[in-house]
């Protein structure tokens, strides 16, 4: 990073970029969540040209399952997030791992109305957490117990029990219940994520044998924002 870049960061003009992976089973609401977090507009695929306006109307009801991934960006008060919104369909889940190494945090979305597939979600989560690129890293994991608006949906406590989240010892994690369509609960999650990422950096700085995740630039950001 050049001197000028360091300077802008130090001055708080440019926010530190973090890569976040958004995972979870298909239909759990990942794309809807990321869409809500994005600035300004509500469309699926970024700003729409006029030609596409009428399509987008049908789209909000009839959201398209992601194939592969989408990259979206949004900012919180002191971080700039680049989110890899992955496809949750079973045949694409094995593609997640290509993006583990370079990610700094994970958002894991659960459809809290889908009791039937809760075990599947747990299995995928376990596989994820045991993956060699994830296992030994202190990566924050944010869980959204999504679709809390559904009548038959389970509480976030219930979800965390079913997923045995209390067993996660080596990573900071947090679960919020959310309603992605209305946007409820999303901000709480993002605030936690930002705080934890910054805190992990501070901890890393103080821990003698822990490895640096973000290096100098972020430390500066932290000091500025504190």
């Amino acid at each position: 990073m050049g001197l000028l870049d360091k300077l802008t960061v130090w001055l708080g003009l440019k926010k530190k970029e973090v890569n976040v992976l958004c995972l979870g089973l298909d239909n759990s609401g990942k794309t809807t969540i990321i869409n809500q977090l994005k600035p300004s507009n509500q469309s699926l695929f970024g700003p729409l040209s006029d030609d596409w306006k009428h399509i987008s109307q049908t789209q909000t009801q009839d959201i398209v399952p992601t194939i592969g991934f989408n990259i979206e960006k949004f900012k919180s008060s002191s971080l700039s997030f680049t989110v890899f919104d992955m496809s949750g369909q079973s045949r694409y889940r094995n593609l997640w791992e290509h993006y583990y190494k370079e990610s700094h945090a994970i958002i894991f979305v659960i459809d809290s109305g889908d009791k039937l597939r809760m075990v599947v979600a747990k299995e995928e989560l376990d596989t994820l957490l045991n993956h060699q690129d994830i296992r030994s890293r202190r990566m924050p994991v944010l869980f959204f117990a999504n679709k809390s608006d559904l009548r038959e949906s389970m509480s976030s406590v219930k979800v965390s029990q079913l997923l045995c989240l209390e067993n996660i010892k080596d990573k900071p994690w947090h679960i919020c219940s959310s309603d992605a369509v209305k946007g409820d609960g999303l901000q709480e999650g993002v605030d936690w994520l930002q705080g934890t990422i910054l805190c992990v950096c501070v901890c890393v700085r103080t821990s003698p044998q822990g490895h640096l995740i973000f290096g100098l630039a972020v430390k500066l950001t932290v000091e500025v924002s504190i």
């Binding site: 970029e17 890569n19 699926l44 695929f45 970024g46 700003p47 729409l48 040209s49 030609d51 596409w52 399509i55 398209v64 399952p65 992601t66 194939i67 592969g68 991934f69 989408n70 990259i71 960006k73 680049t82 496809s87 694409y92 593609l95 290509h98 993006y99 190494k101 370079e102």
Partner: protein, 876 residues
């Protein structure tokens, strides 16, 4: 390091290519920076360029490394750098087939294709369609439909062209986009309109009616795009060609009207379409030719080139029409563009008079060394055509050709050399006077010829023709030089050629034997074997032996021989191997071809694969009823026993064995509401032929061909009864069925259908065999059973007709090119060779004289008396 491109770079100046010494592993190592945050677009761009460069140089990427690089590249989608993004699209397309899981970018591309940035949209569509398969296509279908009618031309064009590519893969899905394509076809943008028309045509091209409706519509409403017009012209002329009708159709009128279009492109396309049409009348041709004539004097080189190239192509077909342009063509002879000049000269050579030949040849000699191989081939082809037209000019041509051969020893590719050699060979064959000069030129050529195929071809020709020239000894040196200097294949061919000189010329025999002796010490097995074999044959000094083993080789099918020998080794027996048990090659090796095959499509000689007959042999052997019939002797061409468009279509192939015939009936049921079962053809012979067995086809569903067979024994007691007429009836059980599901009723009823009569003729009992040296074969068979008779062919008007009739009636192979009757002759001798069922050689010499009809004196020789009688009886 990539060595293979060094040469090119040396030529184009030093080190101008920054990618010259790229190493794949280093580049892939660098590609790791794709994973870094933040992204450095400039560096990433450079690395992607390197990857694409390597891919385009043919560098092989393993699946694992390709996939790793691909996934790293996908991270670059987070950058909004436009150039980088577009480079990603290119990379996706390049890697679509070598990386795994490329569908990972589907959503990202869909997002770009529907997004705000127009520069992304078109390329994203193209990339998306490359990574999409049929199942995935459904998911992006609505975006494609929308993109086709997008108001941004680049987006619409991209979608249309991508759809066209996907027609092959997912016709049924793309078919649903017709309405959108239709809308795009009325676009104001010329490219969009053109691409839309292309897609519409490809969606409908298998439905003639739909195509002609579409043509009708567009020719009426008119189009804006000249590209689209060109395409319409092509479609229209294809349709015209298929209808085979006259040219007084609206389609022709349309093409004709395009000659007056304001775009040169369209005018040229129309003219080219007209002059390429089969059966064009002079009146129809005239306006097209005058347009081309006009182009000949255009200031635009591209137009001149197009015009002269087209005229060159049709010069042989419509010489008189092209002659009208001679003056304009003369002006192009000195065109500064050598390609145009070459085409002009070769066109004039095709159409010009005999007197202008020398002048034109001189002109072309002045710059022949400056033109590319491709155009040199054009020149050679023109010369070849010229030789056929003006045989007296052969010495000029021959000289020119030999100069071309000589000047281009070091340069000039295989196709070019092959064209010259073929041309010389055809001149030799057409003009006996030119034989010695031609052979001398070829001898000189093989002294320094790196093409094995050409060297062996010429050696074969020398062996065939050399011994029959007045001074055969002068060729020996050239041939023997090959034995000393060349590769195995050429050495072996040289040995075979030498042997022919020894066999034909008694005074050369001692020296040939000495040379053979030397060849027997060759380091190569094949060369040694051949030498030893010929040595032993030649030492016998027997004409018959020479004829059978030196001049005229084996006429059996090679795969058949292999199989028979293998079988023989599996079943040990005291009896010697019987050559007669081997099926004959049913397509005799033709004599040196003189026609010019289009150069590009010519192939190097292939290893003999199984022939049609070998395939039949295997199929028939799989049917238990036909066990023990012995080897298949001959299979006829298929004979139609029904009209082309009837309820049931039946064709018959006649298979001849030593004492039996098997008739194979290939039947097709064209009624979609019927299922036929137990299908067989009942046969009633007119002679003492016995139908031994019927093998029915169990099921004959709609449009799926099936075969049934009849086994017939040939009359033992009357071997001369070679012809017979069978009346045939198709018998079967009909089950009506649902046309949609094909589900048949439970019950059926018997029915029958009368077919046309089937003839067995003498030709079914004779297999063609080529005897390269007929005289030697004639001596070999000898006159033990010779018979001669004279016939009058009253209804025949010309010698050609007589020759054609005899050949097709007897089904024998014409030898020594005697099927070609020289012009203006009133007598001719036809030599025919074959093998009769049972393995007896049969030769026919037929002297024909033209006088008020044709008189024919037929002499037949065979190793079997009955065969001679059969042939004469059947002719009479």
């Amino acid at each position: 390091m990539i060595k293979k491109f060094d040469k090119k770079d040396e030529e184009s100046g030093s080190g101008s290519n920054p990618f010259q010494h790229l190493e794949k592993s280093a580049v892939l190592q660098e590609a790791r920076i794709f994973n870094e945050t933040p992204i450095n677009p400039r560096r990433c761009l450079h690395i992607l360029t390197k990857i694409i460069y390597l891919l385009n140089q043919g560098e092989h990427f393993g699946t694992t490394e390709a996939t790793e690089a691909f996934f790293a590249m996908t991270r670059l989608f987070q950058s909004n750098d436009q150039t980088l993004r577009r480079m990603c699209y290119l990379t996706i397309k390049e890697m679509a087939n070598i990386s795994e899981d490329v569908i990972i970018v589907t959503s990202s591309l869909t997002k770009d294709m529907t997004g705000k940035e127009d520069v992304y949209r078109g390329p994203a569509i193209r990339a998306l369609c490359r990574i999409t398969d049929t199942t995935m296509l459904q998911a992006i279908e609505r975006y494609m439909k929308q993109a086709i009618v997008d108001k941004v031309p680049s987006v619409s064009s991209s979608a249309l062209v991508s759809s066209l590519h996907m027609v092959r893969m997912s016709y049924d899905v793309v078919k649903r986009w017709v309405n959108e394509a239709q809308e795009a076809a009325s676009s104001d943008n010329i490219m969009v309109q053109y691409h839309a028309l292309g897609l519409l045509y490809h969606l409908r091209k298998n439905d003639r009616l739909a195509v002609s409706k579409m043509l009708n519509k567009f020719t009426k409403s008119g189009l804006k795009s000249p590209f689209a017009y060109c395409m319409l012209i092509r479609i229209a002329s294809k349709l015209l060609e298929e209808t085979e009708g006259g040219h007084d159709s609206p389609l022709f009128d349309f093409i004709e009207s395009c000659l007056r279009n304001k775009h040169e492109m369209v005018v040229y396309e129309a003219a080219s379409a007209i002059v390429h049409m089969p059966n064009c009348t002079a009146r129809e041709l005239a306006p097209a030719v005058s347009v081309l004539q006009l182009f000949c004097s255009s200031p635009k080189a591209a137009l001149r080139y197009a015009a002269v190239r087209t005229l060159n192509k049709v010069a042989m077909k419509h010489p008189s029409a092209v002659t009208a342009c001679n003056l304009d063509l003369e002006n192009l002879i000195t065109d500064s563009n050598r390609s145009i000049a070459t085409l002009a000269i070769t066109t004039l050579l095709k159409t010009g008079s005999e007197s202008s030949v020398d002048r034109l040849m001189k002109q072309i000699s002045s710059f022949v060394s400056e033109i590319s191989d491709e155009f040199k081939v054009v020149v050679v082809q023109a010369i070849s055509a010229l030789c056929q037209k003006y045989p007296r000019k052969h010495s000029v041509m021959m000289n020119f050709l030999s100069n071309m051969l000589r000047d281009d020893v070091s340069c000039g590719g295989f196709e070019y050399k092959r064209a010259i050699v073929d041309c010389i060979i055809s001149i030799i064959e057409e003009n006996p006077d030119s034989k010695e000069t031609g052979l001398a030129h070829l001898c000189e050529f093989i002294e320094d010829c790196e093409h094995t195929v050409l060297a062996t071809k010429i050696l074969h020709l020398l062996g065939k023709e050399g011994p029959r020239t007045p001074s055969p000894s002068k060729y020996i040196r050239f041939i023997f030089n090959r034995v000393v200097l060349e590769s195995e294949a050429v050495r072996a061919a040289a040995v075979s050629a030498l042997a022919k000189f020894g066999a034909q010329n008694d005074d050369l025999l001692p020296s040939v034997l000495v040379l053979m002796q030397r060849c027997m010490m060759d380091s190569d097995d094949e060369v040694r074997d051949r030498a030893t074999f010929y040595m032993n044959v030649l030492q016998q000094k027997q004409k018959a032996l020479n004829a059978a083993y030196v001049f005229n080789g084996l006429s059996v099918s090679v795969p058949g021989l292999e199989k028979s020998l293998h079988q023989y080794t599996l079943e040990p027996t005291e009896k010697p191997f019987d050559m007669k048990s081997v099926p004959l090659a049913n397509t005799p090796i033709t004599e040196q071809k003189t026609e010019f095959a289009p150069v590009a499509t010519s192939k190097l000689p292939e290893k003999p694969g199984p022939t049609r007959q070998d395939i039949y042999q295997e199929q028939l052997a799989g049917i238990p009823e036909f066990q023990g019939l012995g080897p298949l002797f001959k299979s006829s061409e298929a004979v139609q026993l029904t009209e082309a468009e009837t309820e049931y279509v039946v064709r018959c192939v006649k298979h001849t064995f030593a004492r039996h015939m098997v008739f194979q009936f290939d039947c097709t049921n064209t009624l979609n509401d019927q299922l036929l079962q137990k299908v067989m053809v009942q046969m009633e012979p007119s002679e003492a032929y016995d139908v031994l067995h019927y093998v029915p086809a169990a099921n004959l569903p709609y449009s799926q061909p099936g075969s049934c067979y009849s086994l017939v024994s040939l009359p033992e007691d009357d071997p001369t009864a070679v012809s017979c007429t069978f009346s045939c009836t198709l018998k079967y059980l009909v089950k009506d069925c649902d046309p949609n599901t094909g589900e048949p009723d439970d019950d059926g009823y018997d029915d029958e259908y009368v077919l046309e009569d089937l003839e067995v003729t003498v030709a079914d009992h004779i297999q063609k065999v080529l005897k390269p040296n007929f005289a030697a074969a004639w001596d070999e068979v000898g006159d033990d059973f010779e018979k001669e008779e004279t016939f009058a062919l009253a209804s025949v008007r010309t010698l050609e007709e007589a020759v054609g009739n005899i050949i097709s009636f007897l089904g024998m192979q014409p030898c020594e090119r005697s099927d070609k009757v020289p012009e203006n002759k009133n007598s001719h001798i036809l030599f025919l060779a074959g093998v009769f069922r049972g393995g007896h050689d049969v030769l026919v010499r037929s002297r024909l004289a033209l006088a008020d009809g044709v008189t024919m004196q037929v002499t037949v020789r065979s190793s079997d008396k009955t065969v001679v009688d059969i042939i004469l009886a059947s002719v009479g």
